[in-house]
Chain length 144, copies 2
């Protein structure tokens, strides 16, 4: 994991389909050398996976929000996690330290869907004591 690997990660981050020969021109290495480095980055799980970034706006998901959730007791965690796993509109779920226990990032069509998500999905889970929703007005930066 030297500067060349970092450069390769940067190039692939910008364009995951960039060919090894194209990358080679940037880092002054031959095609097999670049392929080998990419293979090792995958093997070391530094590259988790190749993927596509989908523009949420273009597929009708105009509403992004963060929801903080407080659970009453540890025994309610399993049911909550089950609901999260089965709800595709929940894009991220982090267990956090602080006055709330979980922070969710959700992507939805509109506020009606948000209302349904909160009242029919999240608050229906046993043990959900409190939620606090922050609606995203605009996003300046969004990387992984």
């Amino acid at each position: 994991m030297d500067q060349i690997d970092e450069k390769i990660l940067e190039l692939l981050g910008a364009n995951g389909r960039m060919t090894s020969s194209e990358i080679g021109k940037h880092v002054h290495l031959s095609v097999p050398a670049v392929s080998e480095r990419i293979r090792k980055l995958e093997e070391a799980q530094i590259i988790d996976k190749f993927t596509v970034r989908v523009n949420r706006e273009q597929i009708g998901l105009h509403l992004l929000a963060f929801i903080m959730v407080q659970l009453e007791k540890p025994e309610h965690v399993a049911g909550f996690r089950e609901m999260i796993a089965q709800t595709p509109s929940v894009r991220e779920c982090h267990h956090i330290a602080g006055s709330y226990d979980y922070l969710l990032k959700v992507a939805l069509k509109n506020t009606s869907e948000l209302e349904l998500l909160i009242s029919e999905q999240i608050k229906r889970v046993e043990g959900v004591a409190k939620t606090n929703t922050m609606i995203v007005l605009s996003t300046m930066k969004e990387e992984m």
Copy 2:
């Protein structure tokens, strides 16, 4: 944008390097037909870009946190945005509705770096009235 396109997006989301012939087997289409659909998804900006997902843990970024920031007045926004744009440890920055104005997602090596980020970078910006940091203990789900 029909069911086949949705299926292609799903397959590429799981593996951005999946070949057109492989995708074709899943959606029962020929290679050129798949390529054409992918090209059109890119053209319509439904596919924002092909990229790689880097495992933060593997590159030493063991600490993930969300920081809520309150700005005093609108005239301080420009300086704040400038700082965000120039700080790579800030992975996301959303303008939000609620008692705070911005929500940041940051990835760092350790708590020392977090301390520096908050005290030397964020609080140094003129107009930053208040911040509230939520440390991520674990992540159950993280998609785009």
